[in-house]
Amino acid sequence: MATLEMTYREALQKSMFEEMDKNADVFLMGEDIGRYEGTFKVTKGFFPKYGTRRVVDTPITEAGFTGIATGAAMAGLRPIVEFMTMSFSILALDQIINHTAKIHYMSNGVVKCPIVLRGPGGAAKQLSAQHSHSMDGWFAHVPGLKVVCPATVADVYGMLKTAIADDNPVVFYEHPRLYAMKGELPDDPNFTVPFGKAQILREGKDISLVGYSLMTQINLQAAELLAQDGIDAEVVDVRSLLPLDTETIYASVRKTHRAVVVYEDWKSGGFGSEIHARISEDCFDDLDAPVGRVGGLNVPMPYARNLELLAVTNENDVVAAVKKLL
């Protein structure tokens, strides 16, 4: 099949344009997404095309617009809500946890809530303590939410389509450091990527590097460095946290007998800890070494660039963790 080359951001836009053209129930809501076209320019071109009915500029009111989108979803629409950064979703946690995630259960399956909560999460560059949160693990703790963290251009395109079509609330986790990344995607408007399917982005036999979102790209870079030292690392891209495809992860671990889980969130209690625990519980007999874990430093993100670089996981941290296990 023919492929297209574009950035992660352009793939997001293409996916949303196509779905909005297909389904009039899909609409956008968020701060500065319409007339201003989005702080990260993800919604560039949407307001001129769809107007005020389908591109709703809101006051600064994360809890408010999340609740309003939840109500609109309950009443039959399919809102896509943008958080200017996922760090701001903290303001909407009560709405997300107590309304968005629970209404289907509380109504014994009668009221569905097809909503996409999307935006950039994780550290960009010197945005410091309150704009750099990795919220993925917080959301993946909540029954009733689906949480996906695409790491590639094709995935961000195909998984957003799946998210919009899903009848459940989906937290769609983008990464600010991936928006400008270029990549390929199939030239096919029907291309989708299902949730709950991890992928092997690089085959290897010595150790499995398990990660998602930006950390998958970090793991690919680490694998290159390890190859220079003769270490053959396999890169497992988890893609979706809820539902989690443990089978693909376990199959890789059973092949390599070693694993390092890499995540950007604070190391203590981040979702990588959950993956680590699952591998340790279920693959114990297949392991030749304890499962390694690389996470963010347990500090509010520092502003100074040198301190920020110390706090965020990079490919050298991954290489060091691998070498400890071999």
């Binding site: 809890a63 408010g64 617009f65 609740g67 109500g71 109504s107 009668v110 009733g144 009848d167």
Partner: protein
Amino acid sequence: MSSTSGSATADKPKSEDSSVPQRPSEALSKDECLELFRLLYLARYFDVRLIKEKKRGRLRGTLYSSHNQEAVLVGSLFGLQANDWISPIHRDMPAFFLKDIRAGWRNPERKGMSIEEVCCQVWGKVGSPGRARDNWSHIGKRDAKIIHSTSMLAGTIPVAAGVVLADKLNGGNSVVLTFNGEGSTAQGIFHEAINFAAVHKLPVITIVENNQWAYGTPTELEYSLPDFARRADGYGIPGLIADGQDVFDVYDKVMQAVEYARAGNGPSIVECKTFRAYGHGDHDDDRAVRYREPDQVEKGRERDPIAVCRKKLIEKGYLKGEAAKKFFAEGKNAAEVTDEDFPPEVVEYLKEGIEFALKSPVPDEAEGAMWVFKENA
């Protein structure tokens, strides 16, 4: 859009929309007025019966009594259209069966809950719309246009606003009544939701049941306005004040707000001034006796909504002679009142609901883990 300025302007006509009648209750027929009276009894009896059931040990869970506040529920719901939405809170249990009750108490087609469904919810039985997956007041029914509530109280206002936003985007003409105590108006989400609704002119009518107490906290520690309705001034929306003990006044003020919203003018706040008869919940009754002065409680309860309505109906000539003297439920606590104090059809209606609930099964254990996610069709 008209806005209140200066003192809260409950009775001033809205200058831009003189077509909204100021006293829509004057157009109610004799039968409709008598039905309002009966519905006050129904709401009161529901409360009384549940208190008695708990005392008898046949019922668990926390009871948030709506005693003395029935006119707020009956008056605000009576004029709604079937396709309008409501989002009641914990103290509004009667609202679930009062919605669209004009279509017939036992009419299975009406856009409200049957008494059997409400009782099943209370008793935790499968006959409730949510199959008893959450507690008493956390109940909703989509087909009936009743939005679930949560313990976060004002947190449901944006959800309700979103529901009518969807209706509006789809060309519909529904409005939503969201119910809150004055206590939850101090939450940040109250502001976020109403501001959003005001900016986007959403048909959201916020009924503030000002019963003077947020759990154990009095109004002077909740907000610093002489009349809460003036909060509306800050949003550029109407703020109306209703006498929460007078079912006709509640009906008038809510219908003004409903017609105003339905005409596309946006949200309103309707403050219904009332008084909480008991503690916050039945677990709080003993303490409430200590944190509220007896004369304050006596004064707050001296205008029982049933008595206020009775007086008006006598004045109108709709209740005469012996009929005017029957069923003296007003002014009596649950412990003092008997079935003889209520119209027999009210007692019978509740009896059917409770018996149905008692006979109904509890949810199957396998249901506990079901419906966390929707399976895509």
